[in-house]
Subunit: 416 residues, 2 copies
């Protein structure tokens, strides 16, 4: 990171320190800052002039069920916000409304205005667990895109060449493999770029998969004789398995709206290395600081993990929820106890012996009866601490604690 | 050419003959009719229902100086018009106004509205020497393109794939040679296609170099659930040399606004084969009919050529101009005489001997003094029938006939 000497030289020592501190925080965990030194220059100017930077991040209102992977970007926005900059949460409703207009693929179904509103609401509900709602500028790109005159569309399209578009990795792959790319798909990066012009963005944030589109924003601003934004990219977050990227479909995700105890338990399951990574990308506390404390023997990894989990749960809910999730976890795992609160199921032996797979499935401790049967066979269902592998029937009245997998409990009351 | 049997069967004998006659005339000289049989079907319907077909041809208001090459298409439109169909003369002012918005190439400078108006006027002045102004629908595509909402632009772009666009010959060449193609250039064929939707075109005419764009019109109509137009392409006309395509820059063109005597003389200079070709593409009289008459000894090629020249001059001017050009030509070439009317130049020997190159250049019988000097050296300047090669000075008072090349004459009056 280098800064134009002229700007830094015009700052006093306190201001320089402020710039350094901001940069350290704002670039933490980032993959790329383009151009090199661009952010330093912009932050120095901001400090010198007392002008907040305009930080843009765009979101498709199509996948309102967010997880920690999405939170990486939001956490970075939060850091900009804490540093006093203006965060703009941009909802890409214009393109969402269009989807894939040919109707030949299911990948981008068009959304109605009502669906977009509903999704935006769900988005907001999750996003503002991380960002400060009062300090966030929420915009929709239909505000300006609906009003663009026809000739402006062609001028926008003129900014990029076909060859350069085909350099984008997904386009080049599809082109090479003779899979169709429709011309309007070339317009989407241009639109995203024009959004930067409309918002007069100083910085645009995105995932590494967005680098190409973010750079188009710089081209578009240059074409409109506007100062070019700084591009800051964040990595894709690894899932709980530490291997694949976090995704609901891989079953390795922590949902922002998940139960506090589930969030806590899942976060406690990650490896120590991944914990440091999560600190870096998701916590207010730098990962290298935590790693150093562990290395020095000042912090036990298990405690570091609990603190991380509590911080994240606390952000998505509140500190009471974090405390409760923590003590719930400690009861079950640290002390080997069963949790205080469990669902209760009842079974009357008049209906025959208590059929464990059915009960487990009915209580949603397994996704289906067949999964419950499989869990039973695998010895993953314990009754009062003993694995029951077959046939899973209890023919004595009494109270039993049924444990499914590592964290799911059930009190079973069997009566005559 | 095949017709859906159902339509032809529903016609009576007189109607069928009408369809056959129309088809023969309308397809004369055409390179392609797409789809095969499409025009026959449409004409048959037109005859059956008494509905004129809507015939679209688009023109860029950028090159208002038309020549016989442009007249090929106009002649075809004229034939549609004579057959009772509705010809739509579409001025592509929308794209002309945009030009190349990057400003990085000089190939498509944007035109102002005033320039477009002036060009359109000059166009009309030439076009309506061939088409019937009262029966022509003159439109500008800005009528509908200015009003297209933003999302419609993206929907338009979705109709075509990038790979298909790159199949267009000029695009594929540039792409292969790593010469830039800007994304908005992909929009131009789409715009032309959308024009067909806006005009509800039954048939679109164009040169063979337009085939790709004309076919996009069919795609665009299909996307808009409109019946797909028939595409009819005409060849590029060979110039007077019979080799290269007609173009002002090759010096082998006959301008629509050229002097009648120049038009006549130039047309008389073509080979007999090219004359038949010009008959086919530019005359109301079929080329094969003329060829047959010559073959049978019923028509002398020189007379056939004079008739063609007179027909064309008569169309661009009137029959009086054609007669006058014809007799002027016959005076000079057939009888070896000098024309009745020639420009006159005067020279006083008081200024020194009459300096031929200067006089020839001043009278615009050569493009410059240096060209006049070259013509003199080549023996292409005759005075009273004798070539003067050097030094080109006349020092005796009197009247002289100066002949430059084959057809340019000048009366030179030299006084003491």
């Amino acid at each position: 990171m280098t800064t134009e000497p002229t700007i830094l030289e015009s700052l006093d020592a306190a201001q320089r320190q402020q710039v350094d501190e901001q940069l350290q925080e704002l670039t933490r965990g980032a993959v790329d800052v383009i151009p090199d030194g661009g952010l330093a220059e912009r932050v120095a100017e901001s400090v010198r002039d007392g002008r907040p930077l305009r930080i843009k991040a765009g979101f498709d209102p199509t996948a309102p069920d967010l997880h920690l992977g999405h939170a990486v970007l939001l956490q970075k926005l939060r850091q900009f916000q804490i540093a006093g900059h203006q965060v703009i949460f941009l909802i890409g409703d214009f393109t969402a409304r269009i989807g894939d207009p040919t109707g030949r693929t299911e990948t981008r179904p068009p959304l109605t205005a009502a669906e977009i509103d509903a999704n935006a609401e769900t988005y907001a509900d999750q996003v503002f667990r991380i960002l400060d709602r009062d300090k966030t500028e929420v915009r929709r790109n239909s505000e300006w895109l609906d009003a663009i005159p026809s000739d402006q569309w062609l001028r926008m399209a003129s900014v990029m060449t076909v060859a350069r578009m085909l350099e984008r990795e997904d386009f080049s792959t599809r082109f090479r493999e003779n899979r169709p790319i429709r011309v309007h798909e070339f317009m989407y990066p241009l639109i995203q770029g024009y959004d930067s012009v409309a918002l007069d963005a100083d910085v645009e944030l995105g995932g590494t998969d967005q680098t190409f589109n973010l750079l188009v924003g710089r081209d578009m601003q240059k074409f409109h004789e506007q100062r070019q934004q700084v591009v800051l990219t964040m990595p894709l977050l690894e899932g709980l398995d530490g291997e694949q990227k976090m995704s609901k479909s891989y079953g390795n995700a922590v949902g922002i709206l998940e139960d506090p105890s589930d969030q806590f338990g899942k976060l406690m399951s990650v490896s120590d290395d991944l914990m440091i990574r999560y600190y870096t990308l998701l916590s207010d506390r730098p990962g290298d600081e935590v790693a150093a404390a562990i290395e020095a023997g000042d912090l036990h990894p298990m405690d570091a993990k609990k603190e991380l989990a509590a911080e994240i749960v606390g952000r998505f809910y509140d500190s009471a929820a974090a405390d409760s999730a923590r003590s719930g976890f400690e009861n079950v795992f640290s002390h080997g106890d069963v949790p205080d609160d469990m669902p209760t199921a009842a079974w009357a032996l008049a209906d025959g012996p208590a059929w464990l797979p059915r009960i487990v499935a009915d209580q949603d401790l397994a996704q289906s009866l067949s999964e419950a049967r499989r869990l039973l066979k695998q010895g993953a269902i314990k009754v009062d601490g003993d694995p029951i592998t077959e046939p899973g029937e209890i023919d004595q009245a009494g109270e039993y604690v049924v444990k499914v997998g590592k964290r799911r409990f059930l009190k079973l009351v069997v009566s005559d």
